[in-house]
């Protein structure tokens, strides 16, 4: 990683248009510099845990928020939630599901696996950008994460 400032937000999104719109909303909320992007579930897990899931002892990346789409190539969003929430190193990282799916089964499954929040992406951009900005600002400036002095 060549980041100068370590990323505080991981955005996992495969759709390039949704990605651009989400980044735009984060930028406008003043959170643009903090974001790292992963384009599928495997890339997301590699980024958080280190390549190949990392060794159990290696510290995982410190993140304050993961914005996660559900329908992803290689390894889907539910699998990502399940992996990160069952690993003691990453369990405390807030995961906000940001998806087009309003299927009751997806909502239920996400919470069951330990997601912290579930946001259905609205079609209207104003509402979409509001939702992203609110989630970002809440978890980055209102919420008190563990172990950060």
């Amino acid at each position: 990683m060549t980041d100068v400032a370590p990323a505080r937000v991981l955005l996992v999104e495969d759709n390039p248009q949704d990605l651009e719109l989400t980044l735009r909303a984060l930028r406008r909320a003043g959170l643009g510099a903090d974001v790292h992007v992963a384009r599928d579930g495997v890339e997301a897990l590699d980024f958080v845990l280190g390549p190949g899931g990392g060794s159990g002892a290696a510290p995982a990346r410190r993140l304050q928020l993961i914005l996660l789409d559900l329908k992803l190539p290689k390894c889907d969003g539910l699998e990502v939630i399940s992996r990160l929430k069952s690993d003691p190193r990453t369990r405390a990282i807030p995961i906000v599901v940001l998806t087009s799916s309003r299927e009751a089964s997806d909502v239920a499954r996400s919470y069951q696996l330990g997601a912290n929040s579930y946001v259905v992406k609205p079609v209207e951009y104003d509402r979409f950008s509001n939702a992203v900005a609110q989630a970002g600002l809440y978890w980055l400036s209102v919420n008190q994460p563990p172990g950060l002095e």
């Binding site: 759709n15 248009q17 949704d18 719109l21 735009r24 329908k71 998806t99 087009s100 799916s101 309003r102 299927e103 992406k121 609205p122 079609v123 209207e124 951009y125 104003d126 979409f128 950008s129």
Partner: protein, 388 residues
Amino acid sequence: MKTADNRQATLQLKDALKELGDLKAALDEHAIVAITDPQGKIRYANDKFCAISKYSREELIGRDHRIINSSHHPKEFIRNLWATIGQGKVWHGEIKNRAKDGSFYWVDTTIVPFLDGEGRPRQYVAIRADITERKRAEDEVRNLNAALEQRVVERTAQLESANRELEAFSYTVSHDLRAPLRAIDGFSEAVIEDFGPLLPDEGKRYLRTIRAGAQRMGALVDDLLTFSRLSRQPVQKSQVDMGQLVRDALEELGDAQKNRRIDLRVGDLLPCLGDASLLKLVWINLLSNAVKFTGKREVAIIEIGCSAGRHATHYYVRDNGIGFDMRHAEKLFGVFQRLHRMEDYEGTGVGLAIVDRIVQRHGGRGWAEAVEGQGATFHFTVEGGAAS
């Protein structure tokens, strides 16, 4: 005296024999009768036995019952029969036999053993009734049932697979169809925000039109999904306070009533048995319609009421809005049916179809009456009334 006694005894004997003869004649009319010796050799066969077995009496006498054995019954069955009558007990059961011409017949059989002075079987009397027709009917019923069950299994599997396909389809629609709409809407907005000053007003108006189109399609997709989900989602019935549902629905419609003068007249609403979340959707749709279509009235009057029926409870929403031409009443509850121009009254045209589907799933029906320009009344019923 002695001769008188003798004569008396002879007369009694005659009477007894006559009685016995009558009984035998009656029995022969009704039943298949055979008598065998302790070894099972046939010593007597009546006409009915000959008729059903298609053997002559001469062919039967002296033979044992293996002559009509159909091989249908397991050895165990035959052993049990002989063990029972060998012990002097009556055996009762159904036996399949084979006639001389190879055809099969079924007999309901009672075999009564008669014992000698030392308790050993002296002879067996078998009385049988032809039950071939009943057995055939039973077989037929059994086969029909099996075929029916098989068909139910097949149909259920077909339905389940159709349902799974529909679910996969809805999932795709909900997920993949909304993403491009978000892009159309989002990037149009981005152009307005970032390059607004470079655009002439007409250009900005076009972009706003593009956004409106994308948002409208988003609403259509959402309504269609709600509609398709209604048929799959199980109806969870409980006692529902319809008055409370109406208050909840009105609260959700709060925004639509802003800056409006609405005279709301809510009568006492009977409770009913239904799915609260689905019935709330009915009220939301009917009430938002009433609010929408009274938009051009100085004061909107919306009346909500109900009446008890024997088998169903009837509810209605009446308004003094623009109404509609009764010639189109039939179309009203179809998906995407609109009776008014988009510019005048917005909406996806799915609302009443949703109402109709929900009401149907509650064993009721929905209908409407109106006078164009004067108002409309929308009715629906929910199964279960005073009689239940």
